[in-house]
Amino acid sequence: MTVSTEVRNRTAGGIGESPVRPDGTFKVTGQFAYSSDLWMDGMLWGATLRSPHPRARITSIDVGPALKLAGVSAVLTHDDVPGEKVYGLEIADQPVLAFDEVRYQGEPVVIVAADHPETARRAAALVVVDYEVVEPVTDPREAVGHPDWKPVHDEPGERTAMSRDRAPVHPHGNIVRHQRIRFGDPDAVTADVVVQGDYEVGMQDQAFLGPESGLAVPADDGGVDLYVATQWLHVDRRQMSGALALPEEKIRLTLAGVGGAFGAREDLSMQVHACMLALRTGRPVKMVYSREESFFGHVHRHPALMRYEHGADRDGRLVYVRAHILLDGGAYTSSTPAVVGNASTLGVGPYDVPNVGMDCWGVYTNNPPCGAMRGFGAVQAAFGYESQMDKLAAAVGLSPVEIRTLNAVSEGSILPTGQRIDSPAPVAELMHRLDAMPLPGSVDQDIRLLPGGVSNTTHGEGVRRGVGYAVGIKNVGFSEGFDDYSTARVRIELVGDEPSVLVHTAAVEVGQGLVTVQAQIARSELGVERVTVAAADTQVGSGGSTSASRQTYVTGGAVRAGCAAVRSSLFERAAARYGPGEFRLVAGKVESLVDGVVGDIASLLLDGPVEHTVQWRHRPTQPLDEATGRGNAHVQWAFCAHRAVVDVDVELGLIRVVELACVQDVGKAMNPDAVLGQIHGGSAQGLGLAVMEEVQVVDGKLRNPSFTDYLMPTIMDMPPMRVEVLELADPHSPYGLRGVGEPPTISSTPAIVAAVRAASGVDLKRVPIRPEHLVAAALCH
């Protein structure tokens, strides 16, 4: 028997459409239950006591005063951790609760359960912890003791009186990962035109609005059920299993509503703590971080120090790139190795460069831990290499668009890792399309539309218009040999008389629209409009992480494969019923390719439901060679370009982003509305990094853990956008799709900075740009 795998998208609500989100009505009516909304009779509230010091030795912990407070049920320290005392995504080095030493301000030391959240917080404050404060390591250059932070050119490195080797934050030293890229002959090669620059990226926070929270419920079998907002249920469970000394099957996770993620939920926060308290007290325990606590409760984007040298011929064609990238990972490993991998392999951007010498370090300091945030590694590097491309353009007399199209990678290009780009890479087309878009009108003299707005700071005297361009590259999916897969269970059955499909995965919806697109895939693949996506939980195999722009690709691929398995079973039933032939399923009907409609899908289900569970993985990738960076490390690349138009008050240092234009290739727009949403949102977060967002850390301490002091874009700050979406299919991915979520975060930041440079004439080297960067430079002129 032969079966057709052809799918026609004639079933309403299938791929390529933008059906209403299945969770949409719940979200607009307030019925959607986020992790902070959960409630259970008899539940207790958890609270966390955190270290006030970036670095200190713990000499004693006295929980007695806290235990005496009425309403307190448990006060736990590291002594109460049932299993392994440390956890981590890649390297287990982060204490569940601090023992011996605290390594960052805000590190959890003691947890409390009480009958009221205020009681729990007051009890935590009564715990007496004696610390012996130690001078923290806060400068990543000092952390590595400068052994490799050598200049890429012939000037001496920046050593100050403060520079010295510091005591290691961890016993094995302060370097988490050092990745070298050596491509061509980067040491010996020379070039006619050379541009150099030092660049710095500040610490950005994901600042999701729904704080870390969840509800742990002790179970009769000695295990625990946890309802939580996270990005990867199964890897949470794996880490919890070690810490709780429970087999994984006794820890059941169910995804609660996720109020944004952006990477900050990739690591554990309250998961183990709430379960420890629930298991100790035998009662449900809810934990919800406050906003201030949230700033201490998750990892941030790695701050970066970068030194780039670009060599080119007189026409502007790149000859070499040499670069050092130093990423401050803070006190614990988190995702730092992967961030280093991305920053190094993508560190020259989407350009053909015959000779590359790149060194990228991720280091430990006593600053807040840094890990995953949208576009990690690629975001930091893009600010460096795109700043350099503009410098190079100026040096050879080309426009920003010309220098980028001249050097753009294309399908078939060889990256500095030696990997060949084996799918469309329309970088030059992105730039041409941006260039062809109309520009907004000249500076609007309406004071409401000037920098400073209704603060009435100018009547336009010092306001200058600037336009800037940038393009970025991002790997999609997990790289460097990671076994990246997802699992989907697909079931079709009659509900009433109507065929109905249930899709069950553990993949996490964070707002990007994954539940919508899973249903769309099932509709198109099975010809059934009635599709339900089950709540994500650990009752089905891992869906992998909602990160690396990978879920539509990988879980989408798994759902498609699950549907294909179900379809094959249905075709066997069709062959038995209608005779051998080739069939397809469209809009509730079974069609024979020869005879047209032969029956209803419903009739094939009279014999009972069909269910298949499949694992699906993308093409394998390879690790990088440590010394040269060679390796086919990535499975897919995504490209996005921005043009920013800004007005800058050069006297006051105020910036207004007037317009953002964006062109992105998404391979296949599975859900066009969701694609636009990702482009809007990613661009907004890139805007934030460019002009306002920074977790300010002084001597290892956070200075602005609130939304009054950590500024992020409001509806006033986000300008209108022009967006063009290309759909150049990747032959290796499901439906030809490309990951969408991260790329727009990458190029919007350098495009805005380029526009501000063009407006102000100031050689900006750091994001976020602060008014004083502009004004101080202007005063020096």
Binding site: R291, G511, G677, H680, I715, M718
Partner: protein
């Protein structure tokens, strides 16, 4: 004390330090109003008090004895969505949805303020005849959306304003 919420009267004994937000969420089980910051910085807790939008995290419940409070749960009418709720759905005016109840309550209050002729900080030369994008942005700038759905929130609100004024927007 008595709290009138969404047309129902609740007798409550509250600690006088309890915010309206905590009273709604923890005492009445109305968790639609969200706690994003608890400091009046994000707007996720926005509710309507006598028709006016406020940050419920900044109001003490005991000060609201007897006034009419409307939350996101009280906007829809027997299952029919409020026009602003429908517009947010139609325009995909959210992603994670955490800020959405506050955005919607804020928009409902804002549209009423506009109808009553309240100027905004960007209003010049008397009240404009119709809301435009600039007015919407200014008037909604107290509600953060970290997913960056602003681009769809503005047309969602304009749809409602235009429909109410008998115009159709693009």
């Amino acid at each position: 004390m008595q709290l009138h919420v969404n047309g129902r009267l609740h007798e409550l004994a509250l600690d006088n330090r309890t915010t309206l937000l905590d009273a709604l969420r923890e005492h009445l089980g109305l968790t639609g109003s969200k706690k994003g910051c608890d400091h009046g910085q994000c707007g996720a807790c926005t509710v309507l008090v006598d028709g006016r939008r406020i940050n419920s995290c900044l109001a003490l419940a005991v000060t609201l004895d007897g006034v009419e409070i409307r939350t996101i749960e009280g906007l829809s009418d027997d299952g029919a969505l409020h026009p602003v709720q429908q517009a947010f759905l139609d325009r995909d005016g959210f992603q994670c949805g955490y800020c959405t109840p506050g955005q919607i309550c804020s928009a409902v209050g804002m549209l009423d303020e506009f109808d009553q002729g309240w100027p905004s900080a960007v209003t010049t030369g008397g009240q404009p005849a119709a809301l435009d994008a600039g007015e919407v942005r200014e008037r909604m700038s107290g509600n953060l959306c970290r997913c960056g759905a602003y681009m769809n929130i503005v047309p969602a609100i304009l749809d409602v304003a235009d429909a109410a004024a008998g115009r159709s927007s693009a």
